[in-house]
Symmetry: D5
């Protein structure tokens, strides 16, 4: 057994039982973004959060233990994602990559936007011409300091 | 001469004269994100917007014409970016990729968040523990329809 | 169980029973292009369409549930396809890629032809020197708008 | 001097003088698809067609000779195209690749749709919800024959 | 079950029973090149040819059905083959690639040598300094035609 | 100056003066295959053969010296060739790779067909349904010997 | 002119004049690690530090301006470095990668060792059997926090 | 059974029983870095050390024998690691690669820092602004000698 | 069953029973280099040699038959090997590649050192500063001949 | 100016003046292997050795200084070499890679054969069936030691 097996079982249970990530997240007291990432093997859960997952997805003790372990991260099977929805995000990084770097550099100086001290919120933005996906990301700016 | 030559000249002028993208964008009547992307060769400008660039960066007529052409997009020299700031964004797509797909799928059904009918706003979010980079993205949801 | 297992089972049933995609599509009330893509794990089906698949391919309830889930798309095992029929299409994109970009750009301006709001129809075109494959594709033009 | 240099000169002339591929194609007596591909270094021109290009783009004799040579084909700088418009076509091949193979196989048997005995026509398809890109492709079916 | 499973079974039976491709091909009334390619999952067989394979390799009905299906082609596990015998062929394409293109172009004009309307014959060529592998390949020339 | 510069100059002279590889080869007393490969930087020439090239292509002494040097071989810009004519050869290696290995192994035992002690002859094969490219290759079989 | 040109000029001046990175760093009031990285185009310098570089390496004003710009980072020409000294470091990451992850995870929990809030010190460690390279790295631990 | 199977079993036992690498290492009389690398299949153990592992992780005799075999090293599934913690180390090599080479070269001459005659120590460095990961690496300098 | 399965079984038997390649080779009347390569699936054995392997490793008849088959060669899981011992050999090819080519070319003319008509002997070379690995390789020079 | 420019100049001078690496090496008091590698930019020379190169190849002072700098190593343009002579060496590493690892492991234990404390000698081995390339390599064995 490894973490991938547990992830597969969680997804299969979700499909079979028609569960919703957002509902599970709520029961865990987590945002839907963090909870889903954790259940997909990208973040670790606390014992209490894992207990919710155990109940909801019908996991056994060993599987539940895996949810509390620091996982090897990376959720995509290829370096350039083939799935159109995920590719669009890759495309944004590719098309806007230098732009983002220039603008953060202009505002903050040399450094990065943290992908660790980070949160994300994805919501529906109603719009007359068709609803939009609204994403808010917040990452701490970490400056390079000379030494 | 090609588009890359013009981009290089624009950047060199910016470095030499200590210009700011945000200032140039304002003169063009554009967001700093769109304007910077355009000046870096990812978007096209209108004749009026190009005229601002011409003046600011000291371009000649032929160079200015290139700014109004549909460019071949893609701003990164490698498929996986090496620059740490840009890599963090790639990492977010990699770590959160399936999560994003699952949550958009759960809320909207099968489809994508458009990277074309799209806007982005990057701002400074003051914070006691260190300021944060705040990003808002809005992309139209485009559903797959059966036929 | 995952989506790939279901796809494999569908294909095996088709081979064993000598079924035709076009016939199954008709029973589903879908074009053969959309139906085949869906059965191969690239599109999702409605409950009614999945029920047809269940009956035709002898699937169980859990397998049928997988057909109604948003799938992770991408049907090829390598970035450059090795199969000659599919490679020819890749080759068209490679040889005509810039041409397509230039001509759509000339007619519509900067933007893309949607691969989401899209349909395709593949038919036999009788011809004295050997029949031809006739393909009609229709994708909504999506313009980049400045902001 | 090589073919790439001539292509670059043609594109630069087009940008500078505001020419349209469709107009040049008409003067050559060719479809806009074939003519553009040829001018971008993917097809060869006859002496007469090259003479038109010479006049329109201001080429010298040596450059004009290059237009009549069989070129090394392939118009994209990377195996997976980064430009969003061209990527969408790559995506179609990726998402629909197996579907296309299955349907052509079902209708014609084992073989390919030729990318050589081939033509393509790209036009604007007016539509109330936004105009569409309409593409017709016709390629001879070439069967594998046993021997 | 998929085509790869059947191929594996065929090879295992061949190893176990000490069969020869050339003998099987003869029983099928096919060249050894086509028959071997088909048995290795690269070409399809007719019902009669598949019946021979069924008997020789001890296949069941379902496995025999797979032999009559259009297969996804491509027999090598890596884009650049590691096996020395196959690599030498890759090397020939690499070293002589432009030469072949130039000479076919010089003789025939712009187009390709078909890999579909194609046959190959591999024989032993006795030679005092060591026998040679003699290969004859014949592929229809397919010209690009302007349109 | 390096070998690539000389190759480029040879090709440019050929285009400008409308030369034919086959004619130059004849003047050198070489097959068109070997001569073209050599002129394209894949084989070395003797002093006499290089003298012919010097005269025909208008090379100077230093350029002529480069033709007599052992070159770094490999004529293709990418591992998988994008040019359709050359790709078809790559495809043959991919589709028929295992078949070729099996048949040579069956006839000769473990070893390779030499790509060094090798010759190739490409000719036109007239045919009622369209002329064919006829290729004869002959490579010494080199057996692995145990030690 | 771009940053790479300036880097090249700095290295050429260093080779020509026999300068030492450690000496230049001292004049800048920086560690040799930070200063060298900056001079090689990986970090930015302050105006004062750049003024030292200007004097030492004989740069002009425009070149000096480039040293104060946030650079696009990444100093290696290939994803897997070919240089043996640098490869050994890549090898350490490859061989010890999971070990490092497990041990940091065991001590700190889920998170990373920052490569931004980071310093490195490389010194000579005298040793009877041959001196050793002694490296001390210190990076802030950044924990993933749930949200 | 192969080494990967044993590694997987060790990790699974650790997760199930909540073991700590540091504790197991202590029982083996090894540093936590060497012991963890060995248990993850990157180093070999002596019979005594393997006996500890046998007891702690509940291995059988055959599994224990595998721990004493020279393993095929390399612990990462991709050339560029996707896991953020490990990527930061890759990033350090990428960003500081040339710097490290220059500084070791300046101090020691041409050669490498050994990754074989090497040790590493990872500890917690308490810090008011957040604890840091403190890493000490020591590798023998190996000079290239002329011959 | 395929060749990889047999290789895996041989290695597992060797680990379990503490066998030595050199001893098995001696029983086969082969050099340790050839025998080991064969047992690892890179060379084929004669019936007599395979019979030794059968006895030593406890193989059944079918597994023994696989040892006498021409194998698909290539023993490394990645194009650039990650194992440090094997990587050093790759590094030698990379660092000394052009040197080897130049020196063989200078001594022999254009051609290759055969990797087929080849033998290798690896021995221990005692040395006061630490024993050395002594490797002797002998490969027939195969000249390119013009035709 | 960088090291590659100097290498290019050295090779061009060698071609133009018909020099031999072996002769230059002798004048430098070095083996032909080390000297050639150094002149091709893979090793550094002492001042005296560089002075020989200066005289022989007609270098100026700055170019001569570059020969005494620690170079960034790696002499091949692609990870898998396309040149047949060099590829054969790559093939040997690929085919015999695991064999080499097993045999060195069996004789010496876990460790590597150094590519730094290393020498190589390439000579002609006369043979009735055609002369052979005889290669002797000697690399210090470096053991992994536990810590």
């Amino acid at each position: 057994m490894d973490r991938a097996t547990v992830t597969e079982k969680i997804i299969a249970a979700k499909v079979k039982d028609g569960l919703r990530w957002a509902d599970v997240a709520q029961q865990m007291g987590l945002s839907k973004e963090y909870a889903t990432a954790a259940l997909l093997g990208q973040m670790k859960l606390t014992a209490d959060q894992a207990a919710v997952a155990k109940r909801v997805f019908g996991l056994d003790d060993e599987e539940t233990a895996w949810l509390q372990i620091v996982p090897y991260k990376g959720s995509l099977p290829t370096a350039v994602p083939t799935d159109p929805l995920i590719y669009r995000w890759y495309e944004l990084v590719n098309v806007y990559g230098l732009t983002i770097k220039e603008l953060i550099g202009e505002e903050f100086g040399d450094g990065i936007m943290s992908a660790i001290d980070f949160s994300m919120d994805i919501t529906r933005e109603p719009h007359a011409n068709g609803d939009r996906v609204h994403v808010v990301m917040s990452g701490k700016f970490l400056p390079y300091k000379s030494y």
